[in-house]
């Protein structure tokens, strides 16, 4: 039996995940309330509270701590089940869909029908603990990640409408995903194949649709979908209060529940008169990455999306482990950069360090009461360093690959440095 055959191994992986999801042991871990695995904007407990209020005719956006999109309300009151057991199955299947999309992106990038790497890529997504654990905690980031991958998959296939529609749904689930729109549109207008080792201007690689009018029509289509979904959301929520409670929350940070990101403690400790200034700085800072990365990687917009996902996985306001998890799993579809990674070992060690410290210090602070908030803050800083190291290294390798000369460098004959 060939284990590398994705026809067989992919279903097997999914079955393993399903079995894991229905293990009663998982319930005893009480992952739902874990601050690393789900943040206020995607916690399952808060989703259930919102659904409860919604079903009892109380506007969940009239106050309180429900920050999910009205799309979730309509989904979970109609199609999707709310019982814990069935939810676990749905969540696992959503992850399986994400893994399938990731494998699909890989095949599009390599222009292959199937490859020996498919299993590895599916496993890199389905068995990544950063993705697996939030999924078991029923965090809705699993939906966001899968939508992100699906929209990238359709963009790779050059199918603009589904890609833009999925991106506009994603915009409603998570405001910051709008930063991924420019590389997504670039991807629609060029090819998903790897051009990292041969950087040229965008015009060299653009496809037949790559014209300015097409760009504008893509943006227009995205806007139309977004506006329609906005109207749908307003109809579901019966008021426009949801805008402040879903999109606004990512900008104003009203809920300071700890998460592995960098925002919460910064704004817990922030002086009141500087709060709005730094909120603006943190939001603008995220936007500033988009244009340079898209310009630098104009020859390979898929890599630009990857780099931007790395930025979001580090600097999102309500971060969960699933955000950097997506970035780390996506490494698997860029094997060409692996030889050029400058410090993969320190990055992995930093991640290992953070992954051990985060739950430990969280529990010491909030459950045992023997540590204070600085313990957990310190571990989020380590986690931030790990994410930063992974991001910088990936960008370095993505640029360094263009120069080549790997053997000469390894033998100490040349060194590639920056001017």
């Amino acid at each position: 039996m060939n284990w590398k055959d994705s026809q067989l191994s992919f279903p097997l992986l999914v079955v393993c995940r399903l079995l894991l999801a229905v293990t009663p042991f998982i319930d005893s871990l009480d992952l739902d309330h874990n601050h690393q695995l789900s943040s206020p904007t995607n916690s399952f407990v808060r989703l259930q509270e919102g659904l409860f209020l919604f079903k009892h005719d109380i506007d969940p956006y009239s106050g309180g701590s429900f920050y999910h999109s009205p799309l979730y309300l309509s989904l979970f009151t109609t199609i999707l089940p709310t019982s814990r057991f069935l939810s676990r199955l749905v969540w696992t299947l959503i992850d399986a869909l994400g893994a399938w999309a990731l494998v699909g992106i890989w095949r599009e990038r390599q222009n292959l029908r199937s490859s020996s790497r498919d299993t590895l890529i599916a496993a890199a997504y389905l068995l990544n603990p950063y993705i697996l654990l939030p999924n078991l905690a029923l965090s809705t980031t699993s939906f966001e990640n899968t939508l992100q991958l699906l929209s990238l998959l359709y963009a790779c296939r050059g199918r603009a409408s589904p890609a833009l529609f999925l991106a506009s749904i994603l915009l409603h689930l998570s405001l910051h995903s709008v930063l991924l729109l420019p590389p997504l549109i670039l991807l629609l207008l060029s090819s998903p194949h790897s051009h990292l080792s041969n950087p040229k201007y965008f015009t060299a690689y653009r496809n037949s649709k790559g014209s300015l009018s097409n760009t504008l029509s893509c943006i227009g289509e995205f806007l139309i979908y977004s506006v329609i979904l906005t109207l749908c959301c307003t109809m579901v929520a019966d008021s426009s209060g949801w805008i402040e409670k879903t999109w606004g929350v990512g900008l104003t940070l009203p809920d300071l529940t700890p998460n592995p990101g960098l925002w919460w403690y910064f704004f817990t400790e922030m002086f009141d008169h500087f709060r709005s200034f730094f909120l603006m700085v943190f939001s603008v800072h995220l936007v500033m990455y988009v244009a340079p990365i898209c310009m630098k990687f104009q020859h390979d917009p898929l890599f630009a999306s990857f780099a931007l996902l790395g930025v979001l996985g580090m600097f999102k306001p309500y971060l969960t482990l699933a955000d950097p998890g997506l970035f780390l799993s996506m490494h698997s579809i860029f094997p060409e950069i692996f030889p050029y990674l400058y410090h993969p070992l320190p990055t992995s060690l930093l991640h290992l360090h953070a992954a051990l410290l985060l739950p430990l210090f969280h529990s010491l602070w909030l459950t045992q009461g023997t540590g204070n908030a600085n313990f957990f803050y310190a571990s989020t800083l380590v986690f931030g360093m790990a994410n930063g190291a992974a991001l910088v290294d990936a960008i370095w390798a993505g640029l360094r690959i263009a120069i080549g000369g790997k053997e000469a460098e390894d033998e100490g004959e040349i060194a590639v440095v920056q001017e």
Binding site: T268, W365, N374, Y377, A402, E413, V417
Partner: protein
Amino acid sequence: MIFSWRILPATLLLYVLGTLASPTSETFQEELTLRPLRDGKVISRFSFTTLREGAVPRNPELLEAKDIPQYYTLFPLGLGQVLREYAASELHLSLNSGKWDYEGWGYPGEQEVGTGAQLWAWISDGGSATVDERWKGLRNALAGLFCASLGSLDDQRTTSPKLAFVPVGDLPAWKLPHQLRHATLPSENVCTENLTPFLKLLPCKGISGIAGLLNPHRLFDADWHGMSVHVSWREGRGIEVRLAFQAVFDPVRLSIDKKRDWSLQSIFDKSIRKACPVASSSRIVVELPKNEAYAIDPKPSIVQEGFAVYDTSHVEKDLDISLRWPLESVFSYPLDPPLQPLSPLSVQRILKGTSQSRGQLSVSIRNTLPSEVQAVYLETMPWHVQFYLHTLKILVNGHARDDPLSDIAYTPPVPHGRPALLESVLRLPPNSTTQLDMDVMKSFLRYTEHPPDAQRGWDLPPAVLVPLVNSTSFVASGASTLLGNDMSRRPRIYTRTLLVDLATPDFSMPYNVIIMSCTLIALTFGMVFNLMTRRFVVVKLRETPGRNEVPMEKTE
């Protein structure tokens, strides 16, 4: 001499005008109720009622116009001015300290016994100032008047329950409806600095009459003490201000030979020396022990239905009432048989869980009545603790049920903004214990929102249970006696306050956090932009004859 003769006509004129301009007459009544309890304690309840006959609350629509002059004789001026300024139709303020033991002490005469400060007012809409603006002004003015931190009863603590706080008197039928504003501050304590302004509102201050017994040294040593102010309007009667002070003393603790005998002198360290001359009625009511040998001294004016009544409107010599149990050498607590609770309903509320991020709120309500009781359950919870309503479980005598709860009205909290309000009607089956369990989330606060003693935790306001029966039938079946004039009102049962332990950030860290987080962000940003902008160059380290030279190369 010449000067004073000159102003005499003017003074006379002013006096005549003053009497003409005040068509209202005012009466003042005072009463002290003393009730010995079976555990040896004594409840004392002072009630001072000033009625301003024919007066009407100010219509807020006329707030812009100059107010018609008000001439007060007995009515407290400071309070009157506040009521006119903010056009409050009805107002109730209570400042209590201690936990009222409903099972051991029965149902209180002054029913507002929730720990800490509680203020609720019915204010009519209308005029240019909104209800909330006037509510803010009102609580700040009362904070100044009573030297209490009522100013902190801000939007983060203000709610408007629908069922639990019905007006005591009547509300004037103006064009716009009245609105209720209710706020509690459980961490507020009553002390001497609150009593002094309280006494100043009385016509005889603390000098004569029953108010002379209000000795702060003894009152604030009591096991439970609380003061309250109630302003209400009744159509055809006028505006009534009732100031009340309630305290639970422990004579056994005060006596040297462990007896429960008490007298005014032993409890208050004072006796009544002279009457308050402006009081239209003044009396002391002592509830007499049942089925026990006792001696009361001096002889009461009237004895009826187990109450001894003393008329104190004409006191010639020192009056020191004492109640003794002459056959008892030492008071022994009645332990056997187990004591029947004095209140038919009792509520216990606890917050479970050790984590600082979540917990479980558990409310247990016991109904010892042989009939079903409907009761309003009210929770006004600051946003520091947020309910997960979907986890609400109801157990009746240990069996899960979901029918006892109906008419749920829930206002979700707004972080940093407003508290949550949960009001619903509970059906309590006869002789049953109903348990409500609900998961709660503990919020994380900004470091500036924590109080100076952050590690102490936050006091959560008491929950309120209002049985939908009137007090007479309710209390009669509970083998307790209620005195006073609020027999017609619904009783209100307060739970104890809770203390919640919220996670605290490090208070010495703001600069460090700003510096360290910004460093990490700046480093990452710098490294990424370094890679984006600077050119890559290949540096030859040594000549290799076998290999082609790698030329200087650059990427875009």
